[in-house]
Amino acid sequence: MAVTEQDGLKIWQRRDRNKQLSIWAGYFIAATVFVVCWQYMSGKTIWMFVWDAPRQAGDIAARMIPPKWSYVNTLWRTIWDTINIATLGTVMALFLAVPTAFCAARNTTPSVRFVRPIALFIIVSSRSINSLIWALILVAILGPGVFAGVIAIGLRSIGFCAKLLYEAIEEIDPGQVEAVTATGAKRPQILAYGIVPQILPAFAGISVFRWDINIRESTILGYVGAGGIGIHLSGSIANLAWTQVSVILLVILATVILSEWVSAKVRHSII
């Protein structure tokens, strides 16, 4: 807040001069970085293709209509697989994320110096490698199929679930834990009666949230051979069967909307 006086009039401004200037400097630096990056990127772009894009888009859209509805019948199996990949992957991730989260949370970890960094490294590396890359690796090891997809989704989700869960654990009310400790409870009992009831709603919310994201992710795993509806998508695109592609896209859209609706319902009933 800065008030300056000019000809006996008080003029209010939200920030004083130096603060305003430093904010402008920040914007200036950000804009410069943006322009430089844009320059490099546009140097790597073939602009002729870009100008041609609207015509291409119209062409593809025209080929997609009308959708070949009868194709849905061959999709049921892969839709079921897609949902299974997401659900089983989430379940697997939760089993592994819970111990990781307890090791990573400052107030429950066995050792801040040794165990916590390892748990944090597990979380970061699982979060930074996309499920598609996990799938790429796992298909090479386990062979193509749903199983590789489940494990890929599971490995990718550990980091996400564990991160949110350990933040929830760090934010618990220490009073309850102390009260349970004061009754003479042992460590597992403190965990079961002092900590777990406090994080259970967060846990349920996180798992449904991640399940919803995983439905979306598992629709593309087929692209590298890890099962699910993505197999048909990549096949149809490769064969230029655009009327099939539009059916697949609509099915994916319906699945995603349905899963979002389910997760919103569950989260509302918990919180």
Binding site: F34, M41, I46, T87, S128, A140, V256, E260
Partner: protein
């Protein structure tokens, strides 16, 4: 206290109250989950012999990753990394710039009903497809290279940032907004002095978070030809140069960690 009263007390044991109150619903949920899991595992048809074969194969595969080879294709890694960074920066800036008007329109307390539904449907649509699916189409339309990846990330950022911005505006304190209105401020002044200061700290944090996500996503867009370090990774896998792939993965993990720590630091300073 006599021994008798202790034994008579011991009959009444305390039990933790269950999360779901109604026993019927509780058992129905357990049963449903059991049936679902049986069906899901039953239809997964894992090729166990292939998976077992995969274990020595996996060991060989993983030993191929060690030691990571940073040197022999360092130029390619650097080029891919540069491309990823350009894509990340430009797409975050453009995505946020576009998502601000859409987010304002999607806030229920700001926008009239038709605008609200229009903006919400844009957000829902841009969030429902996985980045890879969008990228496949962008590569088809705009040709290979970072521009397709840039557009993909812009679309993904709009959905993410616009939704969170709209939710944040809906949660704001209406008293401040009313106070500015009462001073006779026009619509832009109202936006600038009543709403922007309330949402800004959280939105800066989320912007940095989106930068982080965009970088991670840019690492996989290359698999479908949309440029970035993912292209380097995919090439390394295709050539069976697993030591180079390991180097790329380590670089990705390192940068994600760096971005995460910086953004965490900045977020703490801002909030």
């Amino acid at each position: 206290m006599s021994a008798e009263s202790i034994t008579s007390n011991a009959v009444r044991r305390w039990q933790k109250p269950p999360l779901i109150k109604s026993p019927l619903l509780r058992w129905a949920l357990w049963l449903g989950a059991g049936i679902y899991l049986a069906l899901a595992f039953g239809t997964m048809d894992v090729n166990w012999s292939r998976a077992a074969e995969g274990i020595p194969r996996g060991a060989r595969f993983i030993s191929g990753f060690f030691p990571p080879d940073f040197i022999s294709s360092w130029d390619e890694i650097l080029a891919g990394l540069n491309e990823s960074i350009w894509m990340t920066v430009t797409s975050t800036v453009v995505g946020i710039a576009i998502s601000i008007p859409i987010g304002l329109g999607a806030a229920k307390n700001l926008a009239p009903a038709p605008v609200y539904y229009f903006c919400r449907s844009i957000l829902a649509l841009s969030r429902s497809f996985q980045e890879i699916i969008i990228a496949i189409f962008m590569v088809k339309l705009f040709g290979f290279g970072p521009f397709a990846g840039f557009l993909t990330l812009v679309i993904a950022s709009i959905g993410f940032y616009g939704k969170l911005l709209a939710e944040d505006i809906e949660d704001m304190d209406p008293v401040q907004a009313e106070a500015i209105k009462a001073t006779g401020g026009n619509w832009f002044q109202w936006l600038n002095y009543a709403i922007q200061p309330q949402v800004m700290p959280r939105m800066i944090g989320l912007g940095l978070y989106r930068l982080d996500i965009n970088f991670r996503e840019s690492a996989v867009l290359g698999i479908v030809g949309a440029g970035g370090i993912g292209a380097t990774l995919n090439t390394a896998f295709d050539r069976y140069e697993y030591d180079t792939a390991a180097a790329v993965l380590l670089v990705i993990i390192g940068i994600v960690m760096l971005v995460e720590y910086t953004s965490g630091y900045v977020r703490e300073k801002v909030q």
